[in-house]
């Protein structure tokens, strides 16, 4: 059974390529309407295969996908009309103008000509001034925008972004994040795959981690951070200690090899700042002088690496 707010419902999806490689192993996944979902995973984890199946590029070996109420195999016309895809590769019609290419995409997806809509899309992506330029003459970042414009030309309700900011400079990346948020506000559901954990951390509402063709985790981003995140309180000591004094003994407190630094690790949802204050108080009471206190929260990247590492034998 799929929950009523699922815009994409994937059930038991399986893909074995001709060579025998099993890229997806009975994947179940539900994407909620209106959310930004980030699919993380190392190279070869099955991200692009998963997207390829939903978008019609790859034939599944088993399982079903329902996109906005339509089965992608039985009712492919209705399903595909709802989906926009921005591929990972910068595949463009080099000799076409931006304007023609985007209008072509709209027609291809069965929509009548609507120059006002195409103009809006191009303006939103800062491509309007480039509408008469040949795509081959544009920079990599601009080409990426053209691909996004093409994917949005037919007003999809579901947008797949496969590694949207690969090879894009920092400024453009920020712009793109902004654009993705704007699209979400307009009601578009966004599924992105990324290598950049920072990207998922910045944008996603929920995060799925895929590895070896299996979804190993799906979680709200904040819940994930709270559940699996760590806060580290690092205290730089004025004079090195030989060992942790008995008054401070705590299973989460560690002394560095050179005795210069004390590190307190606070797990999950516990309040890291409070724990840091507590530690400082105890150090003062114990008469241990220190020169610095530093608090760091683990990133999604640490969580991701931890998860993938744990799973491997």
């Amino acid at each position: 059974m799929t929950s009523s707010d699922a815009i994409v419902a994937i059930t038991g999806l399986d893909k074995t390529y001709k060579g025998g490689h099993r890229a997806l192993k009975s994947v179940d996944l539900e994407i909620r309407r209106g959310e930004i979902f980030a699919l993380l995973g190392p190279n070869g984890a099955g991200k692009t295969t998963l997207i390829g199946i939903v978008c019609g590029l790859v034939r599944p070996t088993g399982g079903t996908v329902i996109a906005d109420g339509h089965d992608i195999a039985r009712d492919y016309r209705a399903a595909r009309a709802k989906i926009g895809l921005v591929p990972q590769e910068l595949s463009t019609d080099m000799f076409e103008t931006v304007w023609h290419s985007v209008n072509y995409s709209r027609g291809l997806f069965g929509k009548p000509r609507d120059h006002a809509h195409v103009e809006r899309v191009l303006r939103d992506l800062s491509l309007w001034d480039k509408r008469d330029s040949k795509i081959g003459a544009l920079s990599g970042g601009m080409k990426r925008r053209v691909l996004i414009a093409k994917a949005l030309s037919h007003e999809p309700t579901i947008l797949f972004l496969d590694e949207p900011t690969a090879g894009v400079d920092v400024e453009l990346r920020r712009d793109m994040w902004e654009m993705v948020r704007k699209l979400r506000q307009q009601g578009v559901t966004i599924i992105l795959t990324t290598h950049y954990i920072e990207e998922a951390e910045e944008m996603a509402d929920r995060i799925g981690v895929i590895d070896g063709g299996e979804i190993i985790l799906i979680e709200e981003k904040h819940a994930l951070m709270a559940k699996l995140g760590r806060t580290k309180v690092t205290v730089g000591l004025t004079a090195p200690l030989a060992s942790i004094p008995s008054s401070l003994t705590d299973e989460n407190l560690a002394l560095s090899d050179d005795g210069d630094t004390l590190v307190l690790t606070v797990a999950g949802a516990e309040d890291g700042a409070r724990a840091a204050a507590e530690l400082v108080k105890r150090l003062t009471m114990a008469g241990i002088d220190f020169v610095s206190v530093d608090t760091t929260r683990s990133t999604l990247e640490d969580i991701f690496v931890d998860l993938v590492e744990k799973k491997r034998p």
Binding site: G52, R80, S91, R106, G107, L108, G110, K150
Partner: protein, 253 residues
């Protein structure tokens, strides 16, 4: 029926032709003109008439057929190979269109271009030699059917090719020789009897012969046979393409 998609593909492909107008139309016209100068005027003036038709006029249908076959194959193959090569085929595969619709767009555009090219060559030929067309409706029928059939064949070639070399090999190594040996410049009856039999295994003989019958009312083989051959080849191409789309061969992994 996704009419918008068919129109998008059709106009996109024709737009590509317009962008490369010189290469698309001017070069076949120039090469055909050269054939007329060399074969029609220089050599033709020393040749006897064939079945009451001057040699210059005799080669007109064959030359149109030659251009039609090579250009239809080349255009349609390039039309589908290019997106495969650049990767933009992802868009076609993810679009809500059926195989028939995609084929109509691609093959329709390639065939349209060939028909226009055929008409231009017919007009160009008229500048060199006077000729009339006895069965204009049949001539138009052969022109359109051949364009569509060889565009379908080109589409298959564009799917099969995994490099530009393969794309070139079939038109240059197979289509052109078969057309030259298919009675473009001579009547099959002018060959020694043994070669006449061999020639009948060349399918292009039937196309050239049928087309020439439409022009001058005389043919090497019966016109019904010519029509049957072209319909058979068309059916074969459609069957192969249906299989391709069904299995996703070279398109979907």
């Amino acid at each position: 029926m996704n009419i918008h998609a068919i129109r998008a593909i059709y106009t996109f492909e024709l737009g590509r032709t317009l962008r490369t107008l010189f290469q698309s139309l001017a070069s076949p016209v120039i090469s055909t003109s050269l054939y007329f100068i060399v074969f029609g005027s220089a050599i033709g003036s020393r040749m006897h008439t064939i079945g009451g038709v001057s040699y210059g006029a005799f080669i007109v249908p064959g030359l149109i057929m030659l251009a039609l076959l090579t250009e239809s194959t080349a255009n349609a193959s390039f039309g589908i190979y290019l997106p495969r090569f650049t990767g933009t085929v992802y868009e076609l595969l993810s679009a809500p269109i059926s195989a028939v619709e995609a084929l109509t767009g691609y093959v329709g555009a390639a065939a349209t271009k060939s028909v226009v090219l055929g008409l231009i060559i017919a007009c160009t030929a008229r500048l060199f030699v006077p000729y009339g067309i006895v069965h204009p409706v049949w001539a138009a029928g052969f022109l359109i059917l051949t364009s569509i059939t060889f565009s379908l064949f080109g589409f298959i070639l564009g799917l099969w090719a995994d490099g530009f070399e393969k794309l070139q090999v079939v038109p240059v190594m197979i289509i052109t020789p078969l057309t030259f040996l298919g009675g473009t410049f001579y009547s099959v009856s002018m060959l020694p009897p043994a070669w006449q039999t061999v020639t009948l295994f060349n399918p292009i003989v039937y196309l050239v012969s049928g087309f020439r019958w439409a022009f001058y009312g005389q043919a090497d083989v019966g016109v019904g046979f010519s029509l049957g051959m072209i319909v058979l080849f068309m059916a074969l191409c459609v069957a192969i393409i249906t299989w391709v789309f069904k299995t996703g061969w070279r398109l979907r992994t």
